[in-house]
């Protein structure tokens, strides 16, 4: 195959000692042709020592910065090392490496700038709880209202971006709960965002970063973040830099 582009798989990991070895081993088995990078987000468990022991490729953030800061570190690394495509995947085993090619293909073909692995396009696999789906639908509708683009699975952290968006995200990536906001930023940069049907699994170990108590805060924070992000680009959309 004449495809020589450099692909980096970014795996943010915060306290994922239960999953990280299995996830990375599985990935190296299934997709050995791609580079990967675990980003240890200041974990307080054995995530770091496991990475060290298994001789994984990893970045070690000395302070916990949240998923946004961890993923952005991955994008900065990708930019500095000249990667053409960056994929981000959760370190908890929810995202199946088997869909990697599907997620990569539109970027490789130049059909999209950002692809999102979406669990709601074919409604197969783990679909999350009813209340969470309701929340996701609200955010999806909000993004439709503010940008005119329908994205169903706005919270999916299974994404691939091309070189242009490696550059953009490495300079400015939303913090805290970054996924929906990152979509708005992508659309405002005139990125072609495409959803790809994937199946997700329920978490195999560890706990989700969004507990029930935090969900109200999550909705308020993300709603505001989307509105502010949309506002900061003004009435006219951002232009392509190149």
């Amino acid at each position: 195959m004449g495809q020589k582009e450099k692909v980096l798989i970014i795996i943010p990991a915060f306290n994922e000692a239960d999953n990280i070895v299995r996830v990375v081993d599985h990935m190296m088995e299934q997709a050995p042709q791609y580079d990967y990078l675990v980003v240890n987000d200041g974990s307080t468990d054995d995530t770091l020592s496991l990475c060290r022991r298994e001789k994984f490729h990893y970045l070690d953030l000395s302070i916990n910065m949240g998923i946004g800061g961890a993923v952005q570190a991955g994008y900065i690394y990708a930019r500095k090392n000249g990667y053409d495509i960056a994929v981000q995947m959760d370190g908890d085993g929810q995202h199946d490496i088997a869909y990697l090619e599907e997620v990569l293909e539109p970027i490789r073909q130049g059909e999209a700038d950002v692809t999102i692995g979406s669990r709601f396009l074919q409604k197969e696999g783990f679909q999350s709880s009813v209340s969470r789906r309701a929340g996701i639908n609200i955010l999806s509708f909000l993004i439709l209202l503010t940008t005119g683009k329908r994205i169903k699975d706005v919270t999916s952290g299974y994404r691939a971006v091309n070189r242009r968006f490696i550059e953009i995200y490495s300079k400015d990536y939303p913090m805290d709960y970054p996924e929906p906001e990152a979509i708005v930023a992508a659309i405002m940069h005139l990125g072609r965002v495409k959803e790809i049907p994937v199946q997700m699994r329920a978490r195999e170990g560890g706990t989700s970063s969004i507990t029930f108590k935090k969900s109200i805060y999550y909705m308020i924070k993300v709603t505001l973040a989307i509105l502010i992000c949309r506002m900061s680009y003004g009435v006219r959309r951002a232009k392509r830099e190149d």
Binding site: V39, H57, Y58, L59, D60, L61, S62, I63, M65, G69, Q72, A73, I76, Y77, K80, M175
Partner: protein, 128 residues
């Protein structure tokens, strides 16, 4: 009018305030850059205490009935402004720390790779 005793108290308070700021600056516990705002506040407070007619005039313009109320409203307003500017400083520093941490982690990876390379080269050297 603001009573004379209160004015004396306020003048003493403003003087104490300046002494404290100077003390902190001397101890290098405060960065002059961030202290400027507090110094400006102190100067404004000083002027208002020395020339209370100015305060009464301003309070009158805003339609506040009671002088003391006016004083409190201005004080609270100013404190909110300072808090906002502190939040903005904290946010900016947060951003800088984030960048530093990310760059540090990338450097850390590079150092580890170089060390590994040095070790293997060392071993090869011994064998050869």
């Amino acid at each position: 009018m603001i009573p004379a005793t209160l004015r004396v108290t306020l003048i003493v308070a403003v003087i104490c305030y300046f002494i404290m700021i100077l003390y902190f600056l001397k101890q290098k516990a405060l960065n002059l850059k961030y202290t400027l705002l507090w110094i400006v506040a102190g100067v404004v407070m000083g002027i208002l205490v020395i020339v209370p007619e100015l305060l009464v005039f301003i309070i009158h313009i805003f339609g506040i009935q009671d002088n003391m109320n006016g004083l409190f409203i201005f004080a609270i307003g100013f404190i909110i402004m300072i808090l906002l500017s502190l939040t903005s400083i904290a946010s900016r520093q947060n951003r800088k720390i984030r960048t530093l941490t990310q760059e540090l982690s990338i450097l850390d990876k590079k150092v580890r790779e170089l060390e590994e390379k040095a070790v293997t080269e060392d071993e090869q050297g011994k064998e050869g």
